[in-house]
């Protein structure tokens, strides 16, 4: 399967519904951290350029706060595309964003188990 079909299948998103209003990017708390912005993510998929998305910093910067998903007037759900770009990476060996070896140095005594669970789900398989 090519990468465009893969990202559409994983995300379940139809990017052609986007009317480019930019509300997703305006709502995004990670906007300043992203090289490719949420509304641009949708355009990259339309233009068959998933490689650029997988190599972008943005794939790792989405917080899954669901603000873009909540506010999209066309129910495109750009956050699902960003998560799917990340899935394409972490489903490959050696591409995960967090290795088990890194964990001990990141721990502190107040850290809730929820943070470790969530981070493992978001950064690796």
């Amino acid at each position: 399967m090519n990468k465009v079909d893969e990202i559409k299948q994983i995300s379940g998103v139809n990017p052609l519904k986007c009317m480019k209003c930019g509300k997703c990017s305006a709502s995004c708390p990670s906007f300043n951290e992203m090289d490719i912005k949420p509304h641009q993510f949708v355009t990259y998929v339309v233009n068959d350029d998933v490689e650029a998305l997988a190599n972008s910093k943005s794939a790792w910067k989405c917080l899954s706060c669901f603000a873009c998903i909540e506010r999209c007037p066309r129910n495109v759900q750009p956050g699902k595309l960003i998560d799917a770009a990340r899935q394409i990476l972490i489903r490959q060996r050696g591409q995960e964003g967090l290795s088990a070896d890194e964990i001990p140095a990141l721990l502190d005594e107040d850290m809730p188990q929820q943070l470790l669970m969530s981070a493992f789900r978001k950064y690796r398989r």
Binding site: Q9, I10, S11, G12, P29, S30, E33, K61, L63, S64, C65, F66, A67, I69, E70, G79, K80, D83, A84, Q87, G97, L98, E102, L106, D110, M111, P112, Q113, Q114, L115, L116, M117, S118, A119, R121, K122, Y123
Partner: protein, 261 residues
């Protein structure tokens, strides 16, 4: 009234205050939380991939266990509530998910989203009632100015969560009012604390949390109240503003916990 109860991983450990007071207050208010036996961690985040199945199965098992007991399923942690409710929505409405998940489960009767998932706050609002709760308060939190911190997971996406108005929620403010305190409404109360990103990207989470706590402090909040252990952790790491669980406030007001100044 008896409910199946899903405490979740963190309530057994770092968030014991969230769990212990939830149980004690339930008893005081006349409803019963029966912890599911053999529950498994919800995973902390809802798997967004449409093709994800295995990562949703712990939630399906909990949902089905509640169904078999004929009970609604209550969660206190925002993340558990979020994951359980969204997986339940998949099981009710996504036929591919229904078929594939049930193939793993080998149940006598397939699970198709029958269980009702409730947050503890919804039980307080819709079953106990905030007017009735107010009557049971023995230590009203008079004079306290408390900011509600909703964050993301209780509210969004509202098409599935249907918890409250996603842009202008009121449930926590009504709760704070029922306890005799004054709710402080500030603009950042449903903005993200950074969530899981704080494991690696402390600066980014810190900047988000500072905006939230400074906004609340600017509106004269003495403390923030939350239902989420990760929100509490992120906010506490980045501010001197006290961050408390809603069950701690409830326990204070009901006379179960010593009153904090």
């Amino acid at each position: 009234m008896k409910y199946s109860y899903f405490p979740g991983c963190t309530l057994r450990n770092k968030a014991k205050n969230l769990d212990d007071y939830a149980r004690a207050c339930a008893e005081k208010l006349g409803f019963c939380l029966e912890e599911l036996t053999d529950w498994q961690c919800c995973g902390g985040v809802y798997p967004l991939g449409a093709d994800e199945i295995a990562s949703k199965l712990p939630s399906v098992r909990a949902l089905n266990a509640a169904k078999e007991k004929g009970q609604d399923l209550v969660a206190v942690c925002s993340a558990c509530y979020h994951v359980l409710k969204r997986v339940n929505d998949d099981m009710a409405n996504v036929s591919d998910m229904q078929t594939r998940a049930n193939n793993y489960m080998a149940l006598s009767e397939p699970y198709t989203g029958e269980t009702k998932v409730l947050h503890y706050l919804e039980v307080l609002r819709d079953v106990v009632g905030f007017d009735n709760l107010k009557k049971q308060v023995v230590n009203p939190l008079t004079g306290r100015k408390i900011g509600a911190y909703y964050g993301c997971l209780l509210l969004r996406p509202s098409s599935v969560m249907a918890f409250d108005d996603p842009e202008n929620p009121t449930i926590l403010e009504d709760f704070i009012r029922a306890l005799g305190a004054e709710p402080v409404v500030y603009p950042y109360r449903n903005e993200c604390c950074g969530g899981y990103i704080s494991i690696k990207e402390k600066e980014q989470a810190g900047a988000l949390c500072e905006k939230i706590t400074q906004s609340a402090a600017g509106y004269q909040a003495d403390c923030l109240v939350t239902a989420c252990p990760l929100c509490k952790y992120n906010l506490s790491k980045n501010s001197d503003l006290p961050i408390v669980y809603f069950t701690e406030l409830l326990a204070e007001a009901l006379g179960i916990k010593e009153v904090q100044e």
